[in-house]
């Protein structure tokens, strides 16, 4: 294997090596900070999600990227598309609100159903749970970009591909001098 590309690294002194590592760190941390910044601005713990199933066709297809907001001032209404997490499960679900009950103090209980599903989501909720509440909501869908999320789905289905891509990018950044 031709290791010539490492020559640049061998010629670096300690300070330059430290800077290469810090540079790599700053690139990763910049991405993280943008994500955290988006979390704060939208108020949602997951401001961008990927649609994983076809249960919302023809509105959303598998692989679409959704942009969410989670402002307390916007009340949830029937017909809106919400992204929610069921207690005990990590994967967020994107479905439409079917029925809603609202109390005087503003607290709500609502039922959801995927546009492309035959039945409502009660089968997906936790055992004994019949309604969803505000606390289960990750956000409301405000906009979307089609197809782009397929990359995320691929990377999760083939984790080796994900690690290979990340490793190559990491090595490239660490070795290449500005």
């Amino acid at each position: 294997m031709n290791l010539d590309f490492l020559d640049d690294v061998k010629r670096m002194n300690k300070r330059q090596l430290v800077y290469q590592v810090l540079n790599f760190g700053m690139i990763v941390l910049s991405a993280l900070m943008i994500w955290k910044g988006l979390m704060v601005v939208t108020g949602s713990e997951s401001p961008i999600v990927v649609v994983l199933s076809g249960s919302m066709e023809p509105a959303f297809h598998r692989g679409d990227l959704l942009f969410l907001t989670n402002y307390n001032q916007d009340p949830i209404r029937v017909g809106e598309i919400v992204v929610f997490k069921v207690d005990g499960r990590d994967i967020p679900i994107v479905h439409r609100v079917l029925k809603l009950h609202e109390r005087d103090d503003g607290s709500v209980k609502f039922l959801t159903k995927g546009d492309n599903n035959a039945v409502d989501d009660r089968g997906l909720y936790a055992p004994g749970q019949l309604w969803l509440e505000k606390k289960d909501v990750v956000g409301r869908a405000r906009g979307f970009v089609p197809y782009v999320g397929i990359v995320t789905i691929l990377m999760n289905d083939y984790p080796k591909f994900k690690y290979a891509v990340l490793a190559c990018l990491g090595i490239f950044v660490l070795i290449h001098r500005e």
């Binding site: 010539d4 020559d7 640049d8 010629r11 300070r15 330059q16 430290v18 800077y19 810090l22 540079n23 760190g25 700053m26 941390l29 910049s30 993280l32 900070m33 955290k36 910044g37 979390m39 704060v40 713990e45 290449h176 001098r177 500005e178």
Partner: protein
């Protein structure tokens, strides 16, 4: 007495010759199409000339400044990530806001620092006065290669320790004068040019 000093000089010269030839055997080879690698290799050799052949001391304060800013930025970001992990999202909002904003401010500071303070300066060498009485003279080396261009611009700036007056000398030459077809840097051609630039700048000093 005279013959003793001559013998010492001769043996000292013999000791110096062996390490330099060993180093020159480790050839510097870069991807000739990679502009930044080409410039970095030339800068490395110029640095080597200043520190080894001319025995100047390298001053790391510019680089240290850059490292310090980067380190502060990284620490801020890491703190935000860890805090958010320990206190899940809605609770960590205020801490996140502060850290994210200050992180991007540090990024801005870093960009300004590199742009205006460093200005392409890749080395600051101090010429220490042998008697230790006078303040050091400073030699600053700056270089750049324009994107996709082959002309290497080197500027050596001499600042006198006493008067703080500066003089500079430029070099603008195609990198093809020192690199061969395979991307090997021919240090035998490049190092004498650096020494020549240095000497002509030093000579001006003596005239004045």
């Amino acid at each position: 007495m005279v013959s003793n000093t001559k013998k010492r000089e001769a043996s000292a010269a013999k000791v110096q010759v062996v390490p330099t030839t060993k180093e020159e055997e480790k050839m510097i080879k870069v991807d000739k199409w990679d502009g930044s690698a080409v410039k970095n290799a030339l800068d490395d050799v110029a640095k080597k000339v200043m520190t080894q052949k001319l025995s100047y001391v390298e001053d790391h304060s510019l680089m240290d400044g850059r490292l310090a800013i980067s380190l502060i930025a990284c620490c801020l970001a890491m703190f935000a990530v860890v805090w958010d992990y320990l206190h899940p999202f809605p609770d960590s909002k205020p801490v996140l806001i502060i850290c994210v904003i200050s992180y991007f401010i540090m990024m801005g500071v870093l960009t300004l620092y590199v742009q205006f303070r460093e200005k392409g300066c890749f080395m600051l060498a101090l010429e220490r006065d042998p008697t230790g009485v006078d303040p050091d003279n400073r030699w600053r080396l700056r270089s750049f290669i324009k994107r996709y261009d082959d002309v290497y611009n080197l500027t050596i700036i001499f600042e006198d320790g006493h008067t703080h007056k500066t003089r500079e000398i430029h070099l603008e030459k195609s990198v093809a004068s020192w690199y061969d077809d395979n991307g090997v840097l021919l240090t035998d051609l490049f190092e004498p040019e650096i020494v020549k630039l240095h000497n002509s700048l030093a000579a001006e000093k003596k005239e004045k």
